[in-house]
Symmetry: C2
Subunit: 120 residues, 2 copies
């Protein structure tokens, strides 16, 4: 998986853009309004997403309509796949382990409690 996918997704504004584009394509000025960021800043974020292959642009007159391109996300999903086995069996396994070694849990905000199949 290319490095650009990770660095593009690391920024919250860009993830917010993707969350919007996931529902429907948007023109730039719509995204500017939704993000509350300046227009140049938004354009720069869109450029990063474009170069990472996460979005593509269509011209509509003087507007540019941005739409999502899910391929890199599918790659991310592929990267995640081998880990999936871990938390599947961890949900009961890890809970037991944490009971025995509570010092191993660092001050993290809030992680899913013991075994709760439908979290998030």
């Amino acid at each position: 998986m290319p490095e650009t996918t990770w660095s593009a997704l690391q920024d919250p504004n860009r993830r917010a853009v993707l969350d919007l584009l996931r529902q429907r394509p948007h023109a730039v000025n719509e995204l500017v309004g939704a993000l509350g960021a300046s227009q140049p800043s938004t354009s720069k974020h869109l450029r990063v997403l474009r170069e990472a292959g996460l979005v593509h642009v269509l011209r509509d007159g003087q507007r540019r309509i941005y739409a999502i391109d899910p391929a890199p996300l599918a790659e991310l999903d592929g990267w995640l796949a081998p880990y999936r086995a871990l938390w599947n069996r961890s949900l009961d396994d890890l809970g037991r382990h944490l009971d025995e070694h509570p010092e191993a849990t660092e001050p993290e905000a809030q992680r899913p409690r013991r075994r709760d199949p439908k979290e998030t």
Copy 2:
């Protein structure tokens, strides 16, 4: 999903650590060797992973054994979930769409532009 998860995963060294820890827990010096990074650098990466809740540490004498903590990855998986529908139906849907609108797929790099006074 906490910002720390993304920023922790954005670094290739830290992803490499996770790839190692996915298989089995490792002591720090093992990770140092595997990454080819310096020991302080490795420790710093481990700290970031720890604070992101992606790994936890167990003491074994004077060693620290790091093991993976998949909960944040499960959260990432949850973030990814709503996008999954996109590339699932994209596989046939998008293909049909592209047949109808081939101009939409042009990489904006070399699209023939109208009258350009000083191109290249």
